[in-house]
């Protein structure tokens, strides 16, 4: 299936499934899955050394519950813990919780509405206070506090009647069944009640500038615009930390970031990674380990299906047939990227590998359009019922690789009688209303559909998620298919991984047939780190490479 699955694994795919089905059992059977035991043997007894992680954006939000971007996760994963964590295989592992609740272990009731979480009893905040169920209750309530500038509230808004049974036990009721909530909780870091409850305005709390968590690293200092320094939490309940210091260094320019990796100023390149054009050179650098790791996003041409040009499925099929995707990956993306037919990450358990493969064939594309009645006009551009087969394509200005893809596609589309104009925008403009409220004709974007490793894509593909039509979500292509809607609703109510797998396989089949967007390739990230930095693990189910810095150490 993927590279991740072919690396050192201690359990097979079938076992993975069993673990997923068993939920919390995973924690009991394999408590060491998060940190590889192989690394533990050579790790130092006492935290030593320092790792400098390079980031192309600056982390600025340190309260993990506040609205933030993926770059902030780099700090959150090291300073805080969640109830569960998603391991590289996409299996939930207990983190602050003693086990992952499931219907089988009784953590989740059979109707899926009552949740009962058992917590570890040996966890302490960085200031020494014990972590208890009260902190979990406070965290979940803070997220839905209307005055708090919370990040996404999906899932959390369904939680009702939170009850603290004991310091290590908590229960709540869900307003409606929502299976993906387990994954949402894997990205919900716990914050200390005893520090934040005193704050009149949690948005302006001092905690937000100098956070206190339960994580493997403690906050040391931030030099704004430059770096953030964390130090080892010697009292950490989990594996590690083996490093004395962890530094997140902000380098805004990608070329400079790579140069500093090359010069040795940076030990590891995180989020944004190494650009494809540097891959060939980077992989030849001595004393550096450069690997290709699958990512969770899919680069695609997004079509606004409410535009008359794209309402006809024949047009979407013809455009897809006219895309020489292999050439795009090889010639423009330096061979970095994988062909895909779906939105689901290829390393996911829910990835459907049986979808029909796209074939680049201009004659076939022309034939589809001819049969559908799109006739070339005097200017060579096809038209039907007064609609010209002409549209604009937008992407972030300054992204030279995407701009080359646009030019390439513009030429090939012209060969089948389709006119594509290029109209790019700065990122800060592109991803605002223009994108969210479906103001584009078509756009090129790399989109992540899943949260952690959960296959639920309601937010992106359900009719209810079309913002331009008053919905809640980010179905910006305005895709609407009643069968997909029904399947997604069923999937969100189903806990059993086998059953869910069948549901999401079918969703992918329909979407592949409908082609609401045209996949270009599945992202592959170029990870780079200094030789000797051990314990590193890629995890496509998280948004940052440093999701498990607790397990890193220098080869002694």
């Amino acid at each position: 299936m993927t590279k991740v699955e072919t690396t050192k694994q201690t359990y097979s795919r079938r076992e993975t499934l069993r673990l997923m089905a068993a939920g919390g059992l995973a924690g009991l059977v394999a408590p060491n899955l998060l940190g590889s035991p192989a690394f533990g043997q050579t790790a130092p007894a006492k935290p030593t050394g320092r790792v400098v992680v390079g980031l192309s954006q600056e982390p600025t939000v340190f309260n993990p519950l506040m609205a933030h971007t993926e770059v902030d996760d780099a700090v959150h994963f090291s300073v805080f813990d969640a109830l569960f964590r998603m391991d590289p295989q996409g299996v939930l592992q207990p983190n602050l919780a003693a086990e992952v609740p499931s219907q089988k272990n009784g953590g989740i009731s059979q109707d899926g509405l009552l949740w009962h979480i058992r917590l570890r009893d040996d966890v302490r905040w960085h200031d020494g206070a014990p972590f208890t169920a009260e902190d979990v209750k406070f965290t979940l309530e803070l997220i839905t506090n209307p005055k708090f500038r919370a990040w996404r509230t999906s899932g959390h808004s369904l939680v009702r009647d939170i009850k603290v049974i004991s310091p290590t036990e908590i229960t709540w009721r869900m307003e409606s069944v929502f299976a993906p909530y387990l994954s949402f909780l894997a990205e919900t870091f716990m914050v200390p009640k005893h520090l934040l409850e005193k704050e009149a305005d949690p948005n302006a709390a001092g905690f937000n500038q100098a956070p206190i968590g339960t994580g493997a690293f403690k906050w040391a200092q931030r030099i704004a615009g430059d770096h953030i320094e964390l130090v080892a939490n010697a009292e950490y309940f989990g594996e590690g930390p083996y490093l004395e210091r962890l530094v997140f260094k902000y380098i805004p320019d990608m070329t400079v970031l790579y140069t500093q990796f090359k010069s040795g100023d940076i030990d590891l390149v995180d989020q944004a990674y190494i650009t494809a054009d540097h891959y060939a050179e980077a992989s030849k650098l001595s004393d550096r380990v450069v690997t290709l790791e699958p990512g969770a996003s899919v680069e695609s041409i997004y079509l606004n299906l409410e535009k008359p040009q794209f309402k006809d499925p024949a047009v979407r099929q013809a455009l897809y047939a006219a895309m020489d995707r292999k050439a795009i990956i090889d010639a423009i993306y330096y061979g970095v990227g994988n062909l895909t037919e779906t939105f689901m990450p290829q390393q996911s358990y829910y990835y459907n590998p049986n979808l029909p493969a796209q074939e680049y064939n201009l004659d076939r594309a022309r034939q589809i359009l001819d049969e559908a009645g799109w006739v070339p006009g005097s200017d060579g551009v096809r038209a039907k019922d007064g609609v010209r087969l002409s549209f604009s394509n937008a992407t972030t200005a300054g992204n030279n690789l995407r701009e080359q893809v646009q030019q390439f596609l513009q030429q090939t589309f012209a060969e089948i009688g389709v006119e594509m104009t290029i109209s790019n925008l700065p990122g800060a403009v592109m991803w605002g209303d223009f994108w969210l409220k479906s103001q584009f004709d078509s756009a090129i974007s790399g989109v992540t559909y899943v949260i952690a490793a959960d296959p639920d894509v309601t937010n992106r593909l359900h009719t209810r998620a079309i913002v331009a039509k008053g919905g809640k979500g980010s179905n910006t292509g305005q895709y609407s298919n009643p069968e997909v809607d029904a399947l997604l609703e069923k999937g969100a109510r189903t806990f059993d991984p086998e059953e869910r797998r069948a549901i999401y396989f079918r969703v992918q089949e329909i979407v592949r047939q409908d082609l609401p967007f045209l996949p270009l390739f599945a992202y592959t990230n170029v990870f780079g780190r200094k030789e000797g930095l051990e314990g590193f693990k890629a995890n496509a189910n998280t948004r940052v490479a440093s999701w498990h810095a607790a397990g890193w150490h220098w080869k002694s």
């Binding site: 320092r50 600056e58 600025t60 939000v61 340190f62 609205a67 971007t69 209307p146 500038r149 919370a150 990040w151 996404r152 509230t153 999906s154 949402f184 948005n203 302006a204 937000n208 500038q209 030099i223 704004a224 615009g225 430059d226 320094e229 530094v247 260094k249 902000y250 380098i251 805004p252 320019d253 070329t255 400079v256 140069t259 500093q260 090359k262 010069s263 100023d265 700065p426 990122g427 800060a428 403009v429 592109m430 991803w431 605002g432 223009f434 994108w435 969210l436 790399g446 989109v447 992540t448 559909y449 899943v450 949260i451 937010n459 992106r460 998620a465 919905g471 809640k472 979500g473 980010s474």
Partner: protein, 316 residues
């Protein structure tokens, strides 16, 4: 004099209000806004974005947002950054010292070398040195700073390994020597352009002074060329340079955007670029007002200085 001063202050305040209105309007007219950064976030819904918009007060009419901002500014509250929640003044303050260090050192280098080249060029007019300085200045002014920066990094950091490729200091080593080591490359690169400018101005000013009657008199009195240069020429030629230095004050404080990016220097220029990229309105407005105040203040000081020296200005 006090009437003149009051008049100038009054004009400056009007100017500041106009600058703030234009800045605020343009900034808010740019589509996208501070929440665009979450547009691609999996799981982020329009409902969440609308809630954030309301919490940040961005759903109110623009004029109301402006008046609110202006009223708080008058009370000394420059607002809070949307990105990290810190006060705008503290955000600016944190980046100001880095810029001052870089711009200060490059200005010292530029003035010292530029002045010397200018004087020598003027006193050795049409010599090989003069031609070389002219061509050199032209090259330095024509080639973008980032190119010099990248070449510098390639040669001195990657190939020779003498100097760091960037950053203000090595994390964990806050020694003065470490700072100086990191300062060399960016300040020299940044100084290149300023050396060119200073040398050209200085050359012209020196030539101007040399042709004056009192220099000829000094020469007629039999003073040595060196003495004439030191005693009569340099001092007089430097006078217009002081005005030039004054005019450069705002640029010294507002940073060198390109150089700071190439050398990962956490200064004001990069802060401005970052804040614009994230549509962090409070910080961008803070930086805009900060620059406007500096420019206005610089001009005001220059005007007052000239008025003191030349009473005719006051009369008019």
């Amino acid at each position: 004099m006090s009437g003149f001063l009051l008049n100038r202050l009054y004009q400056s305040l009007i100017l500041l209000v106009i600058v703030s209105i234009i800045g605020f309007t343009i900034l808010n007219l740019i589509p996208g806004g501070p929440l665009a950064q979450y547009g691609l976030d999996p799981g982020m819904t329009q409902e969440d974005l609308d809630r954030l918009k309301e919490q940040l007060g961005l759903n109110r009419p623009l004029w109301m947002q402006y008046l609110d901002w202006a009223w708080r500014l008058l009370q000394g509250d420059w607002g809070h950054s949307f990105r990290d929640g810190a006060t705008v003044l503290s955000v600016i303050g944190r980046h100001l010292s880095a810029t001052l260090l870089l711009m200060g050192s490059s200005t010292v280098i530029a003035i010292a070398i530029g002045t010397w080249i200018g004087i020598r060029g003027a006193t050795h007019r049409y010599s090989a040195f003069d031609y070389l300085a002219t061509v050199g200045a032209m090259v330095a002014l024509s080639i973008p700073t980032f190119w010099f920066g990248l070449v510098g990094i390639y040669v001195f950091s990657l190939q020779l390994g003498w100097l760091p490729a960037g950053n203000m200091y090595t994390v964990g080593d806050g020694s003065l020597l470490n700072y100086l080591h990191h300062l060399i490359l960016p300040s020299v690169v940044l100084a290149l352009v300023h050396v060119a400018i200073w040398s050209r101005y200085m050359r012209t000013a020196t030539l101007d002074v040399i042709s004056q009657e009192f220099v000829k008199t000094a020469r007629a009195k039999g003073l040595s060329e060196r003495r004439i240069l030191m005693k009569h020429v340099v001092g007089n030629a430097l006078l217009p340079m002081i005005t030039l230095a004054g005019m450069q004050l705002p640029s010294i404080l507002t940073g060198a955007l390109v150089t700071e990016t190439v050398f990962t220097w956490p200064g004001m220029g990069r802060l401005f670029l970052d804040s614009l990229g994230y549509s962090d309105y409070p910080v961008v407005m803070g930086l805009l007002m900060f620059s406007a105040i500096l420019v206005i203040l610089g001009n005001l000081i220059a005007d007052i200085a000239v008025a003191i020296v030349d009473p005719r200005i006051r009369m008019s």
